[in-house]
């Protein structure tokens, strides 16, 4: 797990390996996933694919449980059934990753 985290986050993950997608395919977009510390992972995903797949792949890559991190697009939570199409995402858009927020008191 720790090895995974040391991988520099620049590799490109192809989410549609089986689908023979070519670059420049209008049905496919590139999405950048940015962690709260600024690390970036790039994904290529079909517009109609549920983001569940991408979220799971990201969590796997950074060695975290998918339920402990929150994925946001434009400041709003992404749900597993959302697709790039349903969120009207464009090529090279960013998904932000945040961790749990807790609060009680600020000293």
């Amino acid at each position: 797990m720790s090895e995974e985290q040391q991988v520099p986050f620049t590799s490109q993950q192809d989410m549609n390996q089986q689908d023979d997608t070519k670059t420049g395919d209008p049905e496919t977009i590139n999405v950048k996933v940015v962690s709260s510390s600024g690390d970036e992972v790039f994904f290529k995903i079909k517009r109609t694919t549920q983001l569940r797949k991408l979220l799971g792949a990201y969590a796997n890559k950074v060695g975290k449980d998918v339920n402990t991190i929150r994925f946001l697009y434009d400041g709003t939570r992404i749900s597993e059934t959302d697709t790039p199409h349903s969120l009207e995402m464009e090529d090279n858009d960013t998904i932000d990753v945040m961790v749990e927020q807790v609060g009680g008191y600020s000293s």
């Binding site: 709003t76 932000d96 945040m98």
Partner: protein, 332 residues
């Protein structure tokens, strides 16, 4: 104690009513005339009314009892959370975003987490007139650093404006809001504190609600430009103008000393006497906004069971019970 006896008496009657009612239904015959049918319907309506008002009064007495006995509320809350540890997976699936870990942050003295706040903001604002944002909105749109939410944005660009437009559009769809005239924004500060912002287009007000006594008192003694939240207020004025344009209303606050809007960077709200209740206070700010448009103290909120209390243990238990109810009632 008398109150409890009264409560249990009322509850025992309710059970009796049910056992009487079920055999009556099974002996039910076809009604001889339409008129009689109307009378029966009218009676059923009355019955429904009286049951509903009974439920309401029971809930109020229950809330009051919990407010009066926070220690009892805490021990009940502890046992409830312990029981929930064994809740079936379907229960959590029905609640979707809430897991046992999130649920347990409602426990006595615990710090509420984002999932709990987001659940109630979404649920309570759905179909209301208040556009309630999630806990990540402020970090994404209003602050320099999305993680700490300490320094409000100093430079606002067209891109920031676009982002707000997109956030609002998605949120309105999510909450199924057609018409709205108030906005609620929770803020998660320095990874440790919850407070909130309210923008009201009807009252023409922007308020920041913070339950921390020290912040409020030291803030009021400082000159305006040095006060905490002064920069945030500038960003909120910008936000109010954008939201106004989405509503089709011309709001002009920048460099406009003649505006009729009032902006209070530290509105007076009840303080938390402890180091853990700010999340509950923040949710209670929203409850009051939805019910009264304003933070309302004293008799009126007591009558509605919404009084801010020294110890918010009773409110924690009520929130935990609301989740329990939702998880059981909802189909997956």
């Amino acid at each position: 104690m008398a109150k409890l006896t009264d409560l249990s008496l009322q509850l025992s009657r309710a059970a009796g009513m049910k056992t009487d009612f079920v055999p009556t239904l099974s002996h039910h015959r076809v009604l001889p005339s339409d008129n009689l049918a109307l009378v029966v319907l009218g009676n059923l309506d009355l019955l429904l009314d009286s049951v509903q008002s009974k439920i309401r009064s029971l809930e109020l007495s229950w809330g009051k009892f919990l407010d009066d006995h926070p220690q009892k509320a805490n021990s009940l809350l502890n046992s409830l959370i312990n029981e929930m540890r064994a809740a079936p997976e379907e229960f959590w699936k029905a609640l979707r975003t809430i897991s046992f870990h999130d649920y347990s942050t409602l426990g006595p003295g615990r710090w509420l987490n984002d999932e709990i706040l987001n659940y109630f903001i979404e649920k309570w604002c759905k179909g209301s007139r208040t556009l309630g944002f999630g806990t990540f909105f402020a970090g994404s749109c209003l602050f320099e650093d999305k993680n700490t939410c300490l320094q409000a944005k100093r430079c606002l660009t067209g891109e920031d404006e676009e982002r707000v437009f997109r956030c609002v559009k998605r949120r309105l769809e999510m909450l199924s809001l057609d018409s709205w005239d108030a906005v609620f924004i929770p803020i998660h500060e320095a990874s440790s504190h919850w407070y909130s912002v309210r923008i009201d287009f009807k009252l023409k007000r922007i308020d920041i609600f913070d339950s921390l006594r020290d912040t409020c008192i030291s803030n009021r003694q400082k000159p305006v430009p040095l006060r905490k939240n002064s920069n945030l207020m500038l960003v909120l004025m910008w936000l109010a103008e954008i939201l106004g344009s989405i509503r089709g209303e011309d709001v002009c606050l920048t460099n406009n000393p003649l505006t009729s809007w009032r902006c209070d960077p530290h509105s007076k709200v009840p303080f938390q006497p402890n180091t853990f209740d700010c999340g509950v206070h923040t949710l209670w700010h929203l409850k009051h906004i939805l019910q009264y448009r304003e933070i309302t103290l004293g008799k009126r909120s007591a009558e509605d069971g919404l009084l801010f209390t020294q110890d918010m243990a009773g409110k924690r238990l009520r929130l935990a019970q609301e989740l329990l109810h939702d998880g059981k009632a909802r189909k997956i």
